[in-house]
Symmetry: C2
Subunit: 386 residues, 2 copies
C-alpha cells in the first residue's frame, strides 16, 4: 500500500507499507533500485501521491512489481541499505495521501438505501424509482477530507427541536458511514464518457472511507438539494492506498441486477470484490459487512459519472456510499443499527449508544483473503471531540 | 478586474483588464512599478490567480490602488513602457482564472426557488420549510467549470420517456442559470466557523457564473441526494474577476427576512449589492435581473457554509444560485421563462424556445452604476454544441 509519511527531519514523501516498516521510495529510487523503470526520483519526494499516480497504470504496476522483488526473501536485495530505506512505522507521521480534486459520494449500498427508506418512508417503497436504474450519487466536500487519526469535532448547526422549530446547537445524532473510496489515477477529458469496460483503468487504488454524518442537521437541510452541512464538517480516509490490481484475486460477481441496466452500465465481466469490512466502536466490533453487498460496481460508478461528459482528474475520490449487509449487525451506520435512535445498541462495557458520544473512537478495518492469506487495507480511525 | 491571459509566446499570466487592453502585471512588477509593495513578481507569472489572492486582502487592495494610479491620467505613468505592459485584448487568449478547490452552489434567489416550487409542487407551499431559515446549498463539481467562451457539449443521460421508463439520450431540456460566483481569497481552518461580520473578508472577488442544467436528467436522478449529472457536465465562469471592494458604492439592503434568522446569520449591516444582470440568448436580451433579488447575502452564505466547521480554501467558488426577479422577463433560467416548457419564448427572429437548441449562444452580462458611471463585470458566454 502506498501513502505519504514524514519522519525525523524528513519531509512528507511517498512510502510503501511493509508490515511494521515503511519503505522510503525516494531513497530507494535515489539508490538506483528503480533505474530499469526510468522514473524521476522526484515523484517520490512529493507530499501527495498525485505525481506518482499520474505516471500511469503500467508504470505504477511496474513499481509495485519491483518493490515486490526488493522485499521478497526477507529483503535480501535491500540488506545493505536496510536502515536507510526501511523506516519503522512507529517513527512516522502519516499524511493525507492525495491532493483531492473532487469528491463524489455514491449511494451504491442497496441494503443501506433500503434501511434508510424504511426508516424515513415507512409506508412507501423503501427504494426510490431510480435506484435500480443508476448509481445515484452526489458531490461532497473535498477540503474537509482528513487522514485517518485526525480528531473529528462534533459539528453544530440548525436542527429542529421538539416543537419543530430550528435551533442552533451541537449535533445530537453524529454517525459514521462505512465506505470504500476509489482513488482516481487517470484523467478523463471533459466531454468524453468513459466506456464501462475501460472504467477500471481509471482506478489507482482503494481506501477505507468514513463519511461522518450529522443526521439531525442533514434531516432539516437536505430538501431539495441534498446533504450539505450534515456531511461537510469532515470525512476520514485511510492513510494507505491499496493498489487496485492487488484485488484481482477476490474479484467476484455482484448481486443480480433487475431490471437490467441501460447498455452504458452493462459490463462484460464481474466487477465486485470480496472485501470483508469491520467497524469498531471503541473496543467493540459492532459491524461486519462486505464490499460484495454493493449493488453497483466500481466500473458502473465511473461509467455513470462520466456518461454526460463530466471529467475526472487524478486524485479525485469516488466513495461507494454506506456498505451495509441485510442484517442489523451488518449495518454500516448507527442510523441503521439503532433504527434512527429507537433501538439503542449495547456495548460490551454495558453502555448504550444511539449515536456517537464525545470521546468515542470509530475504527474501520478491511481485509481480503483470497487463499486464506489475510491482506489488510489501510484502516481509518477517528475520535469524536466536543 | 483580474484574470489570466496569454498572448503570442507569453505563457498564461495575471492581467488586469483596462478597457480594450490588458495590463501585464508580471511585466509591471519586473519593471519596478510595484516595488513599494514588496511583492515577488513571480505571483503574477502564474497560470492562476490563487498565489496572488493568497497574499491577502490588504496586499491585493494595495495592488489595485497602485494599478489605479498607474492607469490614471491616460496612463501617463506608463507612457514609456506602454507597448510592453498594455496588451490589446484582441491579441490575448483568456484562461480559467482560478484553480478551484471546491465549488458550492447556493439556492439564494428566492424568486427562482418560488418559481421552481410552483412548477414542480403546484399544490404545496412553493418554498420548502427550511428556505427562510438557512441559505440552502449543495456541492457542485469543480473539475468541469470552464472559462467563458468554452463551448458546452449537450450532455446525454438517463431521462424518463413518455411511458415513464428511463432511456439514454441527449438532454432535451438544456438550460442556463444566471448566477454570481464568489471567489474565496482567504482560507478558514477546519473546525472554525467564520463569524458573519468577518465573512466578507474571505471574498476576493466576483464572477458571473452560468450553471448549465439538463432539467430532464436532473428530474430523474435528483432524489434523494440532489443534482448530479444534470449539472456536472459543465459550468461557465467569466474570465475576469471583479475585486470585491469595487462593489462598495452599490452596497444596499436586501429583502426583509421573516422569520428573523438565527443569530449566526444576523449581520450588523447591509450585505446586498445593486448589480444589474442580463441574459442574452443569441442576439436578444431575454432577462434583466438584479443581485438585490437574492434573499440571502454573500456574508450569510459564508457564515452558514462554515458554521459546522467546514473549511474554505483560496480559490473555492461559492455561487449564489439562480437570480430571478418576480416577473417572467426577470427569470434567470428558461425553466422559469417557459414555465417548464409549457409557454415557449418567442425570439426577435421569430423562432421559439422552451429550452436551448444546438448552436444557441447564451451570454450573461452584469454592471453597476453607482453614480451613473457604468462599470461592467466580466461577461460569461458559451455556445451549445451537439
Amino acid at each position: 500500500m502506498y501513502g505519504i509519511f514524514s519522519y525525523d527531519i524528513a519531509s512528507p514523501r511517498v512510502g510503501y507499507r511493509h508490515g511494521d516498516f515503511i519503505l522510503d521510495l525516494e531513497t530507494v529510487a535515489l539508490l538506483g533500485y528503480f533505474n530499469p523503470l526510468n522514473i524521476n526520483p522526484s515523484v517520490f519526494a512529493q507530499p501527495v501521491l498525485n505525481p506518482f499516480m499520474a505516471l500511469g497504470r503500467a508504470t505504477c504496476r511496474a513499481v509495485s512489481n519491483r518493490i515486490g522483488e526488493l522485499l521478497a526473501n526477507n529483503e535480501d536485495a535491500l540488506r545493505e541499505v536496510h536502515d536507510q530505506v526501511l523506516i519503522r512505522a512507529t517513527r512516522a507521521t502519516l499524511h493525507r495521501p492525495v491532493h483531492i480534486g473532487d469528491y463524489t459520494d455514491f449511494y451504491a449500498g442497496i441494503h443501506h438505501a433500503e434501511h434508510v427508506g424504511r426508516i424515513f418512508r415507512p409506508d412507501g417503497d423503501p427504494l426510490l424509482a431510480n435506484y435500480r436504474h443508476m448509481p445515484v450519487a452526489y458531490h461532497g466536500r473535498a477540503s474537509s477530507i482528513v487522514v485517518s487519526g485526525t480528531p473529528i469535532r462534533r459539528p453544530s448547526g440548525q436542527v429542529l427541536n421538539a416543537d419543530k422549530q430550528p435551533e442552533f446547537r451541537p449535533s445530537a445524532a453524529l454517525d459514521f458511514e462505512l465506505e470504500l473510496g476509489l482513488v482516481i489515477g487517470k484523467a478523463s477529458p471533459l466531454g468524453q464518457p468513459v466506456p464501462i469496460d475501460e472504467a477500471e483503468d481509471y482506478i489507482f487504488g482503494l481506501v477505507l472511507f468514513n463519511d461522518w454524518s450529522a443526521r439531525d442537521i442533514q434531516r432539516w437541510e437536505y430538501q431539495p438539494l441534498g446533504p450539505f452541512l450534515g456531511k461537510n464538517f469532515g470525512s476520514s480516509m485511510s492513510a494507505w492506498v491499496l493498489p487496485f490490481h492487488e484485488l484481482e484475486p477476490v474479484r467476484c460477481a455482484g448481486p443480480e441486477q433487475h431490471p437490467r441496466p441501460l447498455p452504458y452500465l452493462q459490463p462484460s465481466g464481474p466487477g465486485h470484490f470480496d472485501i470483508r469490512l469491520e467497524v469498531w466502536l471503541n473496543d467493540a466490533c459492532i459491524t461486519r459487512s462486505n464490499a460484495r453487498y454493493l449493488y453497483w460496481s466500481f466500473a458502473q460508478m465511473i461509467a455513470h459519472h462520466t456518461v454526460n461528459g463530466c471529467n475526472l482528474n487524478v486524485g479525485d475520490i469516488l466513495a461507494t456510499g454506506t456498505i451495509s449487509g441485510p442484517t442489523p449487525d451488518e449495518s454500516g451506520s448507527l442510523l441503521e443499527q439503532s433504527w434512527n435512535g429507537t433501538r439503542p445498541l449495547t456495548l460490551p462495557d454495558g453502555s448504550t449508544r444511539t449515536f456517537l458520544l464525545d470521546g468515542d473512537r470509530v475504527t474501520m478495518r478491511a481485509f481480503f483473503a483470497p487463499d486464506g492469506h489475510r491482506q489488510e487495507l489501510g484502516e481509518v480511525t477517528g475520535r469524536i471531540v466536543g
